[in-house]
């Protein structure tokens, strides 16, 4: 999409106003989304995202411009926009670009964009059929299959010139169960940084069946009670608690400007000693994985919290300047129209010392939160919330009747210390995380954990 000679010319234009660093991010992304409603393929959408973002730094100040005009003139005009904002003495007068290609640790076996549409529609239909035939109370199932192929080229004034290609595939099935005029929903939405071979791991029939099972549980669930309780949060997407309660507060986006409760706490105990938390962008085929981040830094496995002690933050290039700490391969953006910033990749609480059955047995009265939905946090105060989309009452150490319609809320700094049991069935779940640089795919994860006291937003 861009060659070295043109990249060199554009970078020099971008720093001509006196910037001390400039970077070009070119993107060509192809997406294909197939949707099924009411037993029929309803919509198919092919989209091509293509454009360029150019960024310059002077100290800790940034200028960013993007354009979909990828011609030489378009790129130079975009670079000129960046240069025009800065009026300082020129600091960089030459760039020596060296091509660097990073190893691909996320190989794709079945290219989802090139695959025939008939093959994809069959996979989706199998999942929905499986949901609908799961039980006579399942009224209908709907879903979509999304495939993304993202090609990025990055060049910067430090001499980096690199390219990466990344593929992601995800299926999202919703089942609707109905009885006596009452309707409830269930969902299952696995995804990976892989091609269509992901459906060898997650059989479409199993995805549909799981969505149906979930809908049936909600159909017989009553409203969740309200108040402070002990809660056991299951593995997989349960890791959203760490993502919201702590993860965002460890991003340089807020730490770098002092807007996080986690500022200045490196080396301090911030969580129960049973909590070790990791952000790992290198997991092969992980939903939140990449070979390189959106600044061209290789992704890493970063231990954020080790046995309760804060060990590291997630840091992008601007954060690195603001915090005087090295980058961690966490710079991400939705697409070229967004300036990148520090974001989570695959973030999880590691396995702990407790047996899962002991966690449930330890609860006299509380909630077993089996499946979770999205949430949000204010990193400045650490106040967070997330949804419980499948929950049960726990009475005398036993999982009892299902409950629905609850959220869990708390303060991250307090809750991290109240995670007092950590089980041993680590798994990850997939989500889209929204923040200042747009929506990016992230995995959250954990084994079964116990939070000794948290507000359950029931009724």
């Amino acid at each position: 999409m861009i060659d070295k000679i043109l990249a060199d010319e554009v970078l020099l234009k971008a720093v001509s106003g006196g910037a001390d660093f400039a970077e070009i991010f070119c993107e060509l992304t192809r997406t294909n989304v197939v949707s099924l409603v009411d037993k029929k393929i309803d919509k198919i959408n092919d989209n091509v995202i293509s454009g360029v973002g150019i960024r310059a730094f002077y100290g800790t100040q940034t200028v960013y411009a993007s354009t979909c005009d990828t011609s030489r003139e378009g790129l130079l005009a975009c670079a000129a926009k960046v240069a025009d904002v800065i009026s300082l003495d020129k600091k960089i007068s030459s760039v020596n670009l060296t091509e660097k290609i990073f190893a691909n640790i996320h190989p794709v076996a079945v290219d989802p964009i090139a695959s025939g549409m008939g093959y994809k529609t069959d996979i989706l239909k199998n999942a929905c059929r499986s949901a609908e035939s799961y039980d006579s109370l399942i009224e209908q199932a709907q879903g979509n299959l999304s495939c993304i192929e993202r090609n990025i080229w990055i060049a910067n004034t430090e001499g980096l010139f690199t390219f990466d290609k990344h593929t992601r595939t995800r299926m999202y099935i919703t089942a609707i169960a109905a009885q006596n005029g009452e309707k409830q929903t269930g969902m299952c939405a696995p995804g990976r940084g892989m091609g269509l071979e992901v459906f060898d791991i997650f059989k479409p029939e199993d995805i549909g069946a799981e969505a149906a099972r979930h809908a049936l549980v909600n159909l017989r669930a009553d409203y969740c009670p309200a108040g402070k309780m002990t809660v056991a949060i299951e593995n997989g997407f349960g890791g959203v608690i760490f993502h919201e309660a702590c993860g965002h507060s460890l991003e340089a986006t807020c730490v770098g400007i002092g807007n996080s409760k986690m500022c200045g706490k490196l080396g301090q105990k911030i969580a129960n000693e049973k909590v070790t938390a990791i952000d790992d962008g290198t997991i092969p085929g992980g939903w939140g994985s990449n070979n390189i981040d959106d600044e061209g830094n290789p992704t890493q496995k970063n231990i954020l919290i080790e046995k309760g002690i804060l060990k590291n933050y997630m840091i992008d290039r601007l954060g690195s300047r603001r915090m005087n700490m090295p980058v961690t391969g966490n710079s991400r953006r939705q697409n070229y129209t967004f300036e990148p910033t520090s974001r989570m990749t695959n973030t999880y609480i590691d396995n702990g010392p407790d047996k899962n059955e002991d966690i449930i047995k330890s609860i006299e009265y509380g909630i077993y939160a089996k499946k979770m939905g999205g949430g949000s946090v204010n990193p400045l105060t650490n106040d967070f919330n997330f949804a419980v989309i499948e929950g049960y009452i726990v009475r005398n150490g036993e999982i009892c009747e299902p409950v629905r319609g609850a959220s869990l809320i708390g303060n991250g700094a307090e809750i991290l210390n109240l995670i007092d049991m950590v089980g041993q069935n680590l798994d990850r779940g997939q989500g889209m995380c929204g923040s200042v640089s747009g929506a990016v795919p992230t995995d959250v994860g954990q084994p079964l954990i116990r939070v000794s006291n948290i507000t359950v937003g029931g009724r």
């Binding site: 198919i44 989209n47 100040q61 940034t62 979909c68 975009c78 609850a406 009724r459």
Partner: protein, 445 residues
């Protein structure tokens, strides 16, 4: 390449592969924004983007594709891809390319002069300066900003229907961080508008709200009388407006299915969709399929009067389309309102407080993650002010309000006499007065 050239290439490509019915949705936008931190401009960004969506009918089914890369090859590929996609579509919804409405409301595109980059920088620094001066507790970490954007949309179809709309806007915000040495809190107050006239108001509100949060505690769990602020009830409308979509009704996924002309809300509830509202930065004379838009009440004095229909759903239900097909260049046609608002009532805010007596005035809703659009259930982390003996009390946070949207509509007891607007884009928005409801479940300490 301009729109005429794009049209020509696409038309020729369509003709070449035997496509007779198609439409093109083209949008062009540019945005500039600037942000401050510690009395300096910390970030400046601008973006120019173009997108083209193409939709065609092959054997009675719609196929579609979109792109941002405008070259002859890419446009030809767009047509081929859309035609190929159509072969796999099984939907029984009728595929219709619209020949045009007899009359379109005359909404002249206002001349909008976008502020220069220099003006935006000055404004952002002015907002920051005023924010710091507004309160002694305002501290570093405070961020303020200003931006501007213009969007132009062109639609063209194989029947020669050609429509155009455009809009420009500015936005600005103050996000003060305040600290009393023990606690740190923040607040955001933002405004989308045609000009920067309300900076002082935005700053005052932002700092007042941030200060109020210092020392805030939770509330005991229980059942409370609640006033939901108009801005926040607008977010409820945005979250649950899918229940008015005829497509959701057809699929059996709307609780309002089969309830036309039935009482579904309190007598004082009238909800209107107005594509031409002065509150919108851009007005809408036509929808995403080219159908003329119109203002209508969806709920009138508590009675459900209509759903929102696109062409396919209007055909399915045997009614006239309401002009509510929405579309972006890369998104398929769906159904949504333009400026959906709960009409204001007759109570002053003080009168509402008096009616509520004791309870909570909810001014912040943190996330709609724990909501279910099909059932209407919600549980939302909230914050706001205590209402004590009909007067505003201290700020409270870290509690949830939980209930059901459809029950909420039935239980609205009083409305304030002012409309508060929440924008969700240039051409769309939601608004509501303050809403008083009894007996809302609250989970707190």
């Amino acid at each position: 390449m301009n729109f005429s050239e794009i049209k020509k290439i696409i038309s020729e490509s369509a003709k070449k592969i035997g496509i007779a019915e198609y439409d093109i949705y083209y949008s062009e936008s540019s945005e500039t924004s600037t942000e401050t931190l510690k009395h300096e401009i910390s970030g400046f960004s601008s973006s120019d983007s173009i997108g083209i969506g193409f939709r065609c009918i092959v054997d009675g089914k719609f196929g579609q594709a979109s792109c941002e890369h405008i070259s002859k090859e890419e446009l030809e590929m767009l047509v081929v891809k859309a035609a190929d996609n159509a072969k796999y579509i099984e939907s029984s919804d009728e595929a219709i390319i619209f020949k045009g409405s007899e009359h379109y409301e005359n909404v002249p595109c206002e001349q909008f002069r976008a502020p220069t980059s220099g003006t935006l920088r000055d404004i952002a620094l002015e907002i920051e300066d005023k924010t710091y001066k507004e309160g002694e507790l305002v501290t570093d970490g405070t961020q303020c900003g200003a931006g501007t954007g213009v969007v132009a949309v062109h639609m063209y179809n194989s029947y020669g229907l050609e429509l155009h709309k455009s809009a420009g806007y500015v936005y600005y915000y103050s996000c003060p961080v305040v600290s009393d040495g023990k606690e740190t809190e923040d607040s955001v107050e933002a405004k989308n508008a045609k000009n920067f006239d309300e900076i002082d108001n935005v700053v005052k509100k932002a700092v007042k709200n941030a200060n109020a949060k210092l020392g805030a505690d939770s509330v005991p769990s229980g059942s409370y009388n609640v006033i939901i602020s108009g801005k926040k009830f607008s977010e409820f409308l945005a979250e649950f407006c899918g229940c008015f979509s005829a497509k959701q009704v057809k699929l059996g996924l709307s609780k309002l299915a089969g309830k036309l002309d039935e009482k579904i809300a309190s007598d004082i509830v009238t909800i209107t969709d107005d594509p031409f509202s002065d509150e919108l930065c851009g007005k809408n004379a036509f929808d995403g399929e080219g159908v003329a838009t119109r203002t209508k009440n969806v709920i009138e004095n508590g009675v459900l009067k209509t759903y929102f229909y696109d062409l396919a759903m209007a055909k399915h239900f045997g009614v006239e389309p309401t002009g509510n097909a929405s579309r972006g260049y890369s998104s398929p046609v769906s159904i949504s309102p333009y400026f959906l608002y709960l009409n204001k009532g007759d109570k002053s805010f003080d009168e509402l407080l008096e009616i509520a007596g004791n309870g909570i005035y909810v001014t912040e809703l943190k996330s709609f993650s724990a909501t279910n659009a099909v059932t209407g259930d919600f549980s939302i982390e909230s914050a706001g002010y205590l209402i004590e003996d009909g007067k505003i009390g201290k700020f409270v946070k870290s509690f949830t309000i939980a209930g059901n949207f459809f029950e909420l509509l039935k239980n609205i007891e009083a409305l304030s006499n002012d409309l508060q607007v929440e924008h969700s884009g240039l051409f769309r928005g939601f608004a509501s007065p303050d809403v008083f409801v009894k007996n809302i479940s609250v989970a707190g300490k």
